[in-house]
């Protein structure tokens, strides 16, 4: 399958996406932000359609929208009790906007399907390079703030007690999340990017008990999902997202069963 250039590019791009999503996912799950990552995907869709409408790249539109809205959600919902409601509100607004932008621009509906559900054929060499740079930026941000981000994500109250600037950390994390969503949407689509941002991280929690190991397992499962998905999509001509999400869901349930089995033995 590597005889085809588009498959090589898709493979490289997905590898970077999987590594980024695997790392960020560990923090998404421990910060209880699965719902937010889903919403950011929808916002990403609106951003991409906006990009198409005004003639900039969909990726740039996506980054613009997800960045602005993640910071908005962050400041609207510093109290976790209000977070669900404010996320729903912002999500509703952006789904509506996305559909409006798409209908105003002259693009066909297949373009919308690509943004929403992902595509392995639509990615160019230049886009792959952009993705790689963004992925490296996200990983670098996480590395720089690794210790404090870990403390805040796995023990928010303790981190505050220890005097960490938890609000600032929250904004920094939301920026990396927004970037990850924009990157991930390119292959698995904006509707299902949250699969990679939540399931491998959630599964890892059932298997290992330290942060470095959680990251390793999460990245491993994420990579296995996209590689297998790409291969099966190539062989069967079915959508890559179907295979990725099925794989991650199956592995999640296996992880959960393993944890329950271990509790009883």
């Amino acid at each position: 399958m590597f005889g085809y250039e588009f498959m090589r590019e898709a493979f490289i791009a997905s590898t970077f996406i999987a590594i980024t999503a695997g790392i960020v996912g560990v923090f998404v799950v421990s910060r209880n932000m699965s719902f937010l990552s889903h919403t950011l995907s929808e916002i990403g869709f609106a951003g991409a359609s906006f990009g198409v409408l005004i003639g900039i790249s969909p990726l740039a539109g996506m980054i613009l929208f997800t960045m602005v809205s993640s910071i908005a959600v962050g400041s609207l919902s510093s109290e976790s009790s209000r977070r669900e409601a404010s996320i729903s509100t912002i999500s509703s607004l952006f789904i509506g906007l996305g559909i409006l932008f798409l209908s105003l621009s002259s693009q066909s509906s297949s373009y919308a399907t690509n943004i929403l559900f992902g595509s392995i054929v639509g990615i160019s060499t230049k886009e792959v390079q952009q993705l790689m740079i963004l992925a490296v930026v996200v990983i670098l941000i996480i590395l720089v703030f690794y210790k404090s981000l870990t403390f805040d994500s796995f023990d928010h109250i303790g981190a505050r007690a220890a005097g960490l600037k938890t609000r600032l950390l929250s904004v920094i994390f939301l920026i990396t999340l927004a970037l990850s969503v924009s990157i991930g949407s390119q292959i698995v689509g904006s509707m299902l990017v949250f699969v990679l941002l939540t399931l491998p991280g959630a599964t890892a929690r059932y298997l290992v008990h330290s942060v470095p190991k959680l990251i390793m397992v999460s990245v491993g499962l994420s990579l296995a999902g996209v590689w297998l998905g790409l291969y099966l999509a190539f062989v069967t001509n079915w959508p890559v997202t179907f295979f990725i999400s099925s794989f991650e869901v199956i592995v999640y349930f296996l992880g959960l069963s393993y944890k329950n089995w271990k509790l009883n033995h």
């Binding site: 210790k147 023990d155 007690a161 059932y206």
Partner: protein, 223 residues
């Protein structure tokens, strides 16, 4: 030493406390008692610099690091980290291998001090209430604090486990001259372990001897 001089705190127009004057000596084990909402947690937040005072002074030597063990933590059954990894969250990033080695020794020493060595690989989500509190305590000890604040840390524990935890804190207090500030609603514990109390009532805080502490101060708190 911690000293408050005419300390005052308001949230907007609402007065929490005023005319507060007290001294807490190094190595003292003191209770903070009073009704819910009387400002106990607000006072310790001011001590830690997490909340601003409205007026007056609070003097704490800058070199005296504070360890804080809060009342609630979001640790559910699925919480993934084991006890050792949870404690290690409070470590700073170290570049040199020798510093990291020192950190490992420090963590082992603190796990030993808090009687957690045998339990260090247990996922925190599956630990008992007492084990969790010991882990919170161990984590706060990593900064080598000179002052330890326990914010109702014993509230949800059964009597025997409470005593074990308090014996441990008393041991740290005596051996390492750790100043311990114990926010509590537990009359028996404050009588048994502390010699003085700061009593929060009538919008102010008064230092009193533990002999003058009565059970009704915990129930009504002089509302």
């Amino acid at each position: 030493m911690i000293e408050a001089k005419n300390l005052e705190k308001r949230f907007g127009k609402q007065l929490v406390f005023k005319d507060v004057n007290f001294k807490i000596n190094d190595g003292e084990f003191i209770s903070l008692i009073g009704h819910n909402g009387s400002g106990k947690t607000t006072l310790v937040k001011i001590m830690m610099g997490l909340e601003k005072k409205s007026d007056g002074e609070i003097l704490i030597d800058k070199k005296q690091t504070i360890g804080y063990v809060p009342q609630f933590r979001n640790i559910d059954l699925d919480y993934p980290l084991d006890i050792e990894q949870f404690v290690r969250l409070n470590l700073k990033w170290k570049f040199s291998a020798s510093k990291r080695h020192e950190d490992n020794e420090l963590v082992n020493e603190i796990l030993e001090k808090t009687h957690l060595t045998e339990l260090k690989n247990r996922p925190l989500g599956l630990a008992s209430g007492g084990e969790k509190q010991k882990a919170y305590l161990a984590q706060s000890l990593l900064n080598d604090p000179k002052i330890l604040i326990l914010d109702e840390s014993t509230a949800s524990l059964d009597v025997e486990v409470k005593m074990q935890l308090m014996d441990l804190v008393q041991e740290l207090n005596k051996k390492f001259k750790l100043t311990v500030i114990f926010i509590t609603h537990d009359y028996e514990l404050s009588k048994k372990y502390t010699k003085r109390a700061l009593f929060f009532a009538n919008k102010t805080i008064k230092p009193i001897s533990i002999d003058d502490v009565s059970e009704d101060m915990f129930e009504l708190g002089g509302r």
